[in-house]
Amino acid sequence: MLFISATFAIFTAAVFIFYYIPCLRKYQIHILIIASLLFYGYNNPYNIIILIISILINSIISYEIHIHKRYALLLTVAGIITNILILSFFKYNTFITHALSMNASIPEKMMHYIISISLPLGISYYTFQAISLIIDSYRQTTNMTKENIKIGGFIDHAKNSALFLSFFPKQSSGPIITANRFFPQLSEKFFQSIDWRSTFKLLIAGLFFKLVIADNLKEYTFWIRYPEFTALSSIDLIILMHAYAFQFFADFAGYSLIAIGIGHLFGYSLPMNFNYPYIATSCSDFWSRWHISLSSWLRDYLYIPLGGNRKGALRTGVNLLLVMVIAGVWHGATLNFLLWGLWHGIGLVAGTVLKIFFGPRNGNSMIRNIVKIFLIFHFVSIGWLFFKLPEASHVYAYLASIANNLFIKPNMKNMIPIFIYSSPVIIHHIFYYVKNSGKLKFLSKYDYVFYGLLLFFILLNKGDENAFIYFQF
């Protein structure tokens, strides 16, 4: 069920009505859990079983961590390993089966069966959230204490954990919320408390980014496919690479804004996922602005426990590379995702090395910042080719074609629409500076004209609806 489909709008409206009926208020969590399971099983009911198993395992383990403090560490390790095994089984089944079949004789029938098991929707997301539930329970950073968990009992804890892991607005592609941020929000919600203004802004901006920008740019970036792109001119290839960077941002940021907006409708605040990522002046700056919920998770639950930057330069570099490779492989079990992680890992290490040798720069030179933004944007855009193209050799062929196809005539027909559809993303990023300067504050009085204009484009200029890019992860 796509966020941008009429089915989803009707579904959300129905859940919303039930959720705020006063006599059903004490069942709000139940309503959301049932709705989330329905949403989750809409395309493939068997997914519900896997989600319920994950909920049960993580509820039991996190409950026991609170109750039996003596075994907390053991339970935490067991919980993390179980979650990783479940994720690995579904996400890397093809890769693991092929690897095993090379060394051991696996019956062909079994091999086909394992390979044919489809990836349950959002498993990468809820597994990371489940791990945060286990670790936060161990660290006692949630609002749960042994006493209040005992009062509520296991059923109450399981119910809360079920909502935490299954809450439908974030189910398919995040934002990843951690237990210590979600559990304190569990309380009765009131219709009067809905912040309609910000919800409306989030939903409209999200729909605009997805339907008008991403879905239209997709028709051009379609040509980033092998071997077709080898016949395109260098200029076309560079423009398409930029267009894909803008499309990717619009698609994922659009999805995230819609998810956060729907979360608001039900009284839950989900973390922001993007903060003007394409104005980043370094790789570490980029990762503090792009897919923030994932990068924060990796920082809090992986990078810092590994020692972060506290154990010397060499160890910092190794930690950065390891975390980024894991981030890459988290997206999928292909060489391309691994290389994408490595690409960003190298970028982060290079940034750290430059900082060690040249020290932090004082002052804020505009030209220096523009050059940095330019370089980082292109570094990131090249990285997206690993996402778009299925094989590393295709990425190489793409870059080689940019170098070799200088004399092929560019297709001018595509340039104007690509520029028009990319410009809102560029303006959005420029707005960051204008917003901070406060020069356009007077315009906020007329924000309804701006949102009216976004609605106008959604209505009259939307592209052909497509699934979100991040749904595949």
């Binding site: 219709f191 009067q192 309609w196 203004r197 409306f200 802004k201 409209i204 239209n216 028709e219 051009y220 071997p227 077709e228 080898t230 016949a231 196809n405 092929i408 005539k409 001018m412 027909k413 595509n414 104007i416 629409p417 028009i420 559809y421 009085k445 924000d447 309804y448 004209v449 949102y451 009216g452 204009l453 609605l455 106008f456 484009f457 209505l459 009259l460 200029n461 052909d464």
Partner: protein, 308 residues
């Protein structure tokens, strides 16, 4: 009352005012479209998929009475260019990445009654069979009524498409070309090789199930169309000799003749004169497309006067 009072609690009524702004913008835009009636070159749509929808909408709303309709894929769409577009007797209902089935479905569901449908038989049969969702949207009575009375909602009048169309005309100096001055161009070698190899690979995959299912479905629709006194003619476009001998195309021809036997249906024979040039093995260049269109028109007119 509680439910109603929340409306007045919006800070500055952002939601209400935004929708109000939307209504004003849509009305103003519709008014501008109605008054200025901007000339949009549908052959210059920014991308092939938008072009597909524009071609379909243009047929439904403007060209439903065209006596001859071409049903095909992007291969026939090469004949939809700035010269042919003004031919009032013909409408080229060919869609990129689709089979002729998409065109036939649209003719069937839109209740139009052309005298003749020219159906392309070739590599296009191997494209995506048909997009039912798109046809349902195009023929949905409510959407149809809205687009009929508010043309601003047609894809042709998308703001970006209008800007693009004017930019093509005034910035890139696109002008209407005199047909007699069209010169043949040499195809880009890299693009030709990539295209040719792509089709040969497609042939190696032996997509026989697709061929059968598309042709079977085409026959079902054609039988219905014939009941409405619509005559169908089949044609093939010239192609690279390697592709003309490929396994898939031979299979397509063989199966097409099985479903639409030459004794019962009229097949326009491919042009005998040489000199047709393609950009990738199957898609004709601008000049060749014009030349082939002339040939197709001539043959159609001859056959239209004869009886099978």
């Amino acid at each position: 009352m509680k439910m109603l009072s929340f409306i007045s609690n919006f800070k500055n009524n952002l939601i209400v005012l935004s929708f109000f702004s939307l209504c004003i913008l849509v009305m103003a835009y519709s008014g501008i479209i109605f008054i200025t009636n901007p000339k949009i070159d549908i052959t210059q749509a920014p991308n092939p998929y938008l072009e597909n929808t524009i071609i379909a909408e243009e047929y439904i709303f403007e060209k439903k009475d065209a006596p001859v309709v071409i049903a095909g894929s992007s291969i026939s769409k090469t004949m939809l260019n700035e010269i042919i577009i003004d031919d009032i007797n013909y409408w080229n209902l060919s869609f990129t990445a689709s089979t002729p089935l998409q065109s036939l479905n649209l003719i069937s569901k839109s209740n139009s009654n052309p005298e003749i449908i020219l159906i392309e038989i070739g590599w296009g049969i191997l494209n995506i069979a048909d997009n039912k969702k798109e046809i349902d949207t195009l023929t949905d009575p409510r959407l149809y009524a809205m687009k009929r009375f508010l043309p601003a909602f047609r894809k042709k009048y998308q703001p970006v498409n209008i800007i693009n169309s004017y930019a093509n005309r005034y910035i890139f100096k696109y002008r209407e070309i005199d047909k007699s001055q069209v010169k043949e161009i040499k195809p880009e070698p890299k693009a030709y090789k990539v295209g040719l190899n792509g089709y040969l690979r497609l042939s190696e995959n032996r997509p026989y199930d697709q061929i059968d299912s598309v042709l079977r479905e085409m026959r079902r629709i054609i039988v219905d169309l014939e009941k409405r006194n619509i005559r169908v003619l089949f044609f093939e476009t010239p192609m690279d000799k390697h592709l003309a001998e490929a396994d898939a195309i031979l299979r397509i021809k063989q199966k097409a003749l099985f479903y639409f036997p030459a004794g019962k249906y009229t097949w326009i024979s491919p042009p005998s004169e040489p000199g047709y040039v393609t950009t990738d093995g199957v898609h004709l260049t601008f000049a060749s497309a014009c030349k082939f269109y002339d040939y197709l028109r001539r043959e159609t007119e001859l056959l239209a006067q004869s009886k099978i």
